[in-house]
Assembly symmetry: C2
Homo-oligomer: 283 residues x 2
């Protein structure tokens, strides 16, 4: 079973010991816990790449708006530790919110323009919270590499931008989306879905496949592809459409014409679950 | 003569070499150059404390508003290098703006409430720029200690708060204000003053001394002390009053009654120079 550490000072001193001992490369896999196969795939990649793998489990209050599902977000630390142990994770860092945001906390990382689109519009303050907690974890753990999932493509872009802008000497690895048998992207929030909702949820992936198909048949007009995705998602009465966009995978800015590889990204609410998905499409 | 380094990658690799060689403590003295005795006192303290002293010289565009004196800010790199050499500084890091803010730069450190008072009101965006460049320098240099001047008391408070909030493992040292013979706090912006303005500029310090004197005589009402400071500064026709406050030295929040040690802080514009000064006062 993997060790769990709850305080910043202890995790820092443990990591210093490891580094001194072995000159090992340190990997960080930041998570909010309630592991699914997507998380495990990040851990396995990190385990293959690095001598020391740290997984953080922290449901980060700063990235939830007051109206969102912070309280309801699924948690199961015992199960997560069991799974981390099976993946031979060296350290799990699982601090309390008061350890990460003590009284008087007053400094945030603000991703600027990249925040003005996609999930940044529907979730104001979300990426500020994400960037802040990730910078804190980077400063605490000082990893050589950090692993993120492609499902949260905008998050990965925000982090890459932050690493570049703030001069972190950390190699950011973004791992492919892991999907259920029917194409639904793995997400801890899938646990919110009723059976009926679960049956309709793969429509996000189907919309992305339809976009790819249209491009394969020669469509280059992003607005037409967006409408196609929107129409596909809108056919399902339990699914509330939020956005469908074609964007630059680095800046997340909208692309008008598909003259190079771009990211198709969708978001919708299904019951209590806000779901997102994306797919690279190339002309 | 001290080495100057202009690129981030070179300064990082040089510092890695030093650290491997010697296990030396690394000091950072972040400056905007045009050294005066205040800067030299920071360097001397750092030199006494640490095996390796890095001074950064960078007039940081992000901390100047469009209406401010970025272009006019005094610069003399040759003289600064000469002075740094005499202080036995190991490395001077003096990047170009494009090295620090390449195209597409989009991530800022946002000091939140501490920004709403004193210089944060008169200089919107200033502390965001300060926090961002200091975080970048911390990530590039990875110092064990960093040295700041007490003259910029709110800046020091912003940096201390940032270090705590973002979990930087860096010891922040704040060194005393160095003053001219007549009490004027040393500042690179004093170079803007005409002879007449220079003669009136010590009024900021005089206002602070008057505040301390009043407190020594039993005054505890911060609003009365503020009025006294304002009156003292207002007597001088070349001096345009900006603020006079009594604040908590950590949070920079206003104090109503002087029941414990507090910071008296003043700002005024004298000719082209915006000047600030402060003094701890204890009941």
């Amino acid at each position: 079973m993997t060790d769990v550490i709850k305080t910043i000072s202890e995790v820092k001193s443990r990591l210093d010991d490891y580094r001194r001992q072995a000159g090992k490369k340190v990997a960080l896999v930041p998570t909010m816990g309630f592991f699914h196969v997507g998380h495990l795939s990040l851990m396995r990649t990190a385990r293959q790449d690095c001598g020391l793998v740290v997984v953080s489990i922290f449901v980060n209050p700063a990235q939830f708006a007051p109206t969102e599902d912070l309280e309801a977000y699924p948690r199961d630390l015992a199960r997560d530790l069991e799974l981390a142990g099976r993946e031979n994770i060296d350290l799990v860092f699982s601090p309390d919110p008061a350890e990460m945001y003590p009284e008087g906390f007053d400094t945030y990382i603000d991703p600027s323009h990249i925040n003005d689109t996609l999930c940044g519009q529907g979730r104001p303050g979300h990426f500020r919270g994400v960037a802040t907690i990730v910078a804190k974890l980077f400063n605490i753990i000082s990893p050589d590499r950090a692993y993120f999932g492609q499902k949260d493509a905008q998050q990965a872009a925000v982090i890459r931008r932050m690493v570049k802008d703030l001069d972190y000497d950390i190699d950011i690895r973004v791992c492919p989306i892991v999907r259920e048998f029917d194409g639904l992207a793995m997400s801890s929030r899938n646990a919110y879905l009723t059976a009926d909702e679960r049956a309709q949820a793969p429509v996000l992936h189907q919309a992305l496949l339809a976009a790819r198909e249209a491009v394969a048949h020669g469509e280059r007009d992003a607005s037409k592809i967006r409408r196609l995705m929107r129409r596909t998602i809108g056919q399902n009465y339990l699914v509330e459409f939020e956005y469908a966009r074609i964007v630059d995978p680095e800046t997340m800015e909208s692309v008008a014409v598909l003259d190079r590889e771009a990211l198709a990204a969708v978001a919708a609410t299904v019951g209590k679950a806000r779901l997102i998905d994306n797919l690279m499409i190339a002309p």
